[in-house]
């Protein structure tokens, strides 16, 4: 009896968590006459792909999609390229008087700045540099946004690799960089992959910076493109839901791939998952 109640409660929570997502998917697949029919249709409606065709054919969502892919890829690569050596430097070298920890804390604290605080000056700076409405400008901002996270995560992973391993390799004639590339990085590969996934997801989901720094059709990302449709008076719910479904799929796939590291990533490593 008690067990049955527990499973009932868990199932209700599960349904409440999933139902809005399921509803969004059904709206994206329904004909316009069925979308807002009363009573609400949960299943058994006529399935159509017209909204997906509209969103990614005639409407500009495929351009937004490409922008989002490029942005996430470029900014994640850049953040890893700059952040991994920094993490290694903090984890592996002797620092006088706790400077390693202090620099690490400072780097993490920049991550905690609310975006709305830095967006006003960043908007003006990028305007002066003529980098508004460009992938370059937004990539730079996303790189800086993800960098503290990369340093913090990778430092934790490097700490878990015993120093003796690369010291032995260096005695055998490897250089420091060679030891990092050939010995240490392969050992932390799962952690590196998880870190990359987190950066990709953050860049993919990000809204506020993109909203302000990309205002032309050609430069918009997927979330901004969706938002620009939502706030209009006449809303094409079907095309927008289709775009929403496409926007959420990669995130769900990536997140399930990195599930093992979800806790560590979301708690900035404070809870080892």
């Amino acid at each position: 009896m008690k067990t049955a109640l527990k499973y009932l409660a868990a199932s209700i929570a599960f349904i409440v968590a999933i139902a809005p997502v399921y509803w969004l998917i059904t709206i994206s697949l329904k004909r316009e006459v069925d979308q807002f029919a009363y009573p609400p249709q949960w299943a058994g409606f006529v399935v159509t792909l017209e909204h997906y065709k509209e969103a990614f054919g005639s409407s500009s969502f495929s351009a937004y999609f490409l922008n989002s892919v490029l942005l996430a890829g470029i900014s994640t690569s850049a953040a890893l390229l700059i952040g991994v050596p920094a993490a290694y430097g903090l984890a592996r070298f002797e620092w006088p008087a706790n400077w390693g920890d202090r620099i690490g804390d400072w780097i993490l604290s920049t991550r905690m700045l609310p975006p709305i605080v830095t967006i006003v000056p960043l908007f003006l700076m990028l305007r002066e540099a003529r980098l508004l409405n460009s992938l370059v400008g937004l990539s730079i901002v996303y790189t800086a946004f993800n960098l503290p996270f990369v340093v913090w995560m990778m430092r934790g992973f490097f700490d878990e690799v015993p120093r003796e391993i690369e010291e032995a390799a260096m005695l055998d004639g490897e250089s420091r960089v060679g030891a990092l590339l050939r010995i240490v990085l392969p050992l932390v590969k799962p952690g590196l992959a998880a870190t990359a996934v987190f950066c990709l997801v953050v860049a993919w989901n990000e809204f506020l910076f993109a909203l302000i720094l990309t205002q032309t059709e050609a430069a918009m990302t997927l979330p901004v493109g969706i938002a620009s449709r939502v706030t209009q008076y006449e809303i094409k719910w079907g095309a927008m839901s289709a775009a929403g479904v496409v926007a959420m799929l990669p995130v769900l796939v990536f997140a399930s791939a990195a599930q093992k590291y979800l806790v560590r990533g979301l708690s900035l490593g404070a809870v080892k998952g």
Binding site: I18, P20, W23, L90, F93, E94, A144, L208
Partner: protein, 275 residues
């Protein structure tokens, strides 16, 4: 004695350059911007819209945090106690938090719409009169509706961290309490909760820091409306800077938000250090 630059410094330097030029320099720029008109800071104290946005942000943060914590803890304990299907329930419960916030908010617009939304449709089906249920477009219900979406979206975060915390508790103290004849509730209150406290603190601080800056969902759901009923500090700053082009005043307001965040982040660093 000659001072040498530590070798690790060269490895960290590029990251420091990027962060100084894109985090610290903008802050300095922002200080200059806000001081360009000395009236900016005094205006903070007489601006009723800013005060209202502050109150709405605090109400939203406090309410959402409380509900998300209690629900998240209950769910963590519940799922942890299941004999089978834990992974299945956990995966489903995490979905809302992983979605792009914009997509989550779009889904909720489809649910909340007073005329054709799924929620009112379902309530009518079971016999409710839904004419007065206007959710995000009602002056009195808008803020609560926004809080409800945040609870849906972020209770999973509390659930996830608290679940991890529960699993990290060593079994011995629980065993010992059970052998001493303590009941389930007493074990939970006197053994589990104290052991879980650092995780609870960490989760609450991380969540609070995110809540005081909330923007995305509200921007899609209500744009801060109706009127300014759901306008938070972030949305008001956005409006001031990018609708009214008053960058100086927006910068001044953003320092209030920064101060609140620093308070949380100092607490957070302390909790993280002690682990």
């Amino acid at each position: 004695m000659k001072r040498r630059v530590p070798e690790g410094f060269w490895w960290v330097l590029p990251a420091l350059v990027v962060l100084v030029s894109l985090s610290i320099y903008p802050l300095i720029y922002s200080v200059k911007l806000s001081l360009s008109n000395p009236g900016n800071f005094s205006r903070l104290f007489s601006d009723r819209l800013f005060a209202a946005a502050g109150v709405q942000t605090i109400v939203l943060t406090a309410a959402a945090l409380t509900v998300e914590f209690l629900l998240g803890l209950a769910l963590a304990v519940l799922i942890d106690s299941l004999a089978r299907g834990r992974a299945f329930f956990r995966t489903g419960l995490l979905v809302p938090m992983l979605l792009p916030p914009v997509v989550a908010a779009v889904a909720w617009r489809l649910i909340y719409n007073p005329q054709f939304g799924m929620l009112n449709g379902m309530l009518r089906q079971i016999g409710f009169n839904t004419e007065w249920l206007t959710w995000t477009s009602g002056q009195n219900s808008a803020l609560a509706s926004v809080i409800l979406v945040d609870v849906w979206e972020w209770t999973p975060f509390l659930f996830l961290l608290l679940s991890a915390g529960l699993q990290a508790i060593p079994p011995e103290p629980l065993e010992a309490a059970r052998i001493d004849g303590a009941g389930a509730w007493r074990i939970f209150r006197d053994v589990t909760l104290p052991l879980l406290k650092p995780t609870i603190l960490l989760a609450l601080l991380l969540r609070a820091m995110d809540l005081v800056r909330i923007f995305d969902q509200i921007f899609i759901l209500t744009q801060g409306g109706p009127g300014t009923a759901t306008e938070t500090v972030s949305l008001y700053i956005y409006r001031t800077a990018f609708r009214f082009s008053n960058f100086g005043y927006a910068a001044a307001m953003s320092f209030v938000l920064l101060a609140a965040t620093m308070l949380f982040s100092r607490g957070l660093m302390r909790v993280m250090r002690s682990r």
